[in-house]
């Protein structure tokens, strides 16, 4: 994990200046303000609402901004049974979310189709869109959803978005200097 070192440059005049890696800062910013796209399809949506309410505050994690517009969201929480009738609508909403985006499959139905092994239910939303975190439960308790969110935060803090681009950036720098 990228480390940060804090250095007080000149507290009286400049204030505190912190040196860190770009990736660390970027990941910190992204993981602490994950705005969910609540794809609340069935009963798990009730537990999603409970997690957003006051007792199991999801706002502690910066995720209280549940805008129902995919254009403004980072993480799609698929909470509930995905029927085949609804499946392509879920995919369309996922495709409208801008990068970077993540998906949490909340509950048994979203993870694997749950108790509905039948002609009408998609056996897991990962047949359609890539899932980052699966949360089991029927429905999972709000604390389980928060634990899943924290696991997603751990995953995000290990991302290397900037360092992975280093070869291309170095190449461009060389071209610019040459």
């Amino acid at each position: 994990m990228p480390e940060t070192r804090s250095t007080a440059y000149d507290s009286k005049i400049e204030g505190n200046v912190i040196f860190t890696r770009f990736d660390a800062a970027l990941n910190w910013v992204r993981k602490n303000s994950l705005w969910p796209m609540p794809m609340g399809l069935a009963c798990c949506a009730i537990e999603l609402m409970a997690a957003a309410a006051s007792r199991f505050d999801i706002a502690r994690f910066g995720a209280e901004v549940m805008r129902f517009s995919p254009r403004q969201c980072d993480v799609m929480i698929v909470a509930g049974t995905v029927t085949y009738k609804m499946a392509l609508a879920v995919k369309r909403i996922y495709e409208q979310m801008p990068e970077p985006k993540w998906v949490i499959a909340m509950g048994a139905c979203a993870s694997t189709g749950g108790m509905y092994r039948s002609y009408a239910t998609l056996q897991g939303v990962d047949q359609l869109i890539p899932v980052d975190v699966y949360i089991s439960g029927c429905p999972p308790r709000p604390e389980a959803l928060l634990a899943g969110l924290m696991k997603l935060q751990e995953k995000i803090s290990g991302e290397r978005s900037f360092r992975d681009q280093t070869p291309q950036l170095a190449e461009k720098l060389e071209d610019a200097l040459a």
Partner: protein
């Protein structure tokens, strides 16, 4: 008792057309033929005060001659009396008359019977699928349709696949190992 009076008036009104009357634990059912449905329904609603259609349901007796059976559950709010009407509907012969102008709730119940069993209703204002999507090629609750479904594809609208009935992804395989090792893990499907 109000119940018996209602049933007596129904029997006297229709006589022969009510081919069978059964009573079971206080519930009375009459079997009628599909051709008499609207007449009986009108009399039940207007004269006999059965103003509440609780349900229309259908049974697939796969292998018997009139293949489907339609069952109407009626209730009289004023007298608190339940009544059941059963019809046997053969698969090929024409559609059943709709009762959606007599009880408006029948609109969606008949759409469900059409969607799940394929029973058509003549005179229905909007007979299209209600649970599955328009253009889905099968009737899912028929006995010859498997529970795991059949593959179908309507691009941009919906698709269906066959559901695996056993195994993955999270299964516990039988073994004598300790519980930590026996715990179900995601198992990739055997191809």
């Amino acid at each position: 008792m109000a119940a018996n009076d209602l049933f007596e008036s129904l029997s006297t009104a229709f006589g022969e057309k009510l081919s069978q009357r059964t009573e079971f634990r206080g519930e009375t059912s009459f079997t009628i033929s599909p051709a008499d449905l609207r007449e009986v329904a009108n009399v039940c609603r207007t004269d006999l005060s059965f103003d509440y259609l609780l349900d229309i349901t259908s049974i697939d007796n796969f292998g018997e001659e009139p293949r489907f059976e339609l069952i109407y559950h009626l209730y009289s709010m004023r007298h608190g009396v339940h009544l059941r009407l059963k019809l046997k509907v053969p698969e090929e012969i024409g559609p059943v008359d709709t009762v959606s102008d007599i009880w408006p709730t029948a609109n969606w119940h008949e759409r469900e019977a059409y969607d799940m069993m394929g029973i058509k209703f003549a005179g229905h204002p909007d007979l299209r699928r209600i649970l599955m999507w328009d253009g889905y090629p099968f009737f899912p609750l028929r006995k010859d349709f498997p529970l795991q479904g059949l593959p179908s594809d309507m691009p941009d609208i919906a698709f269906t696949k066959v559901t695996p009935m056993e195994g993955g992804p999270f299964v516990t395989l039988p073994s004598t190992a300790g519980s930590k090792d026996r715990e179900p893990r995601a198992r990739p499907p055997e191809l």
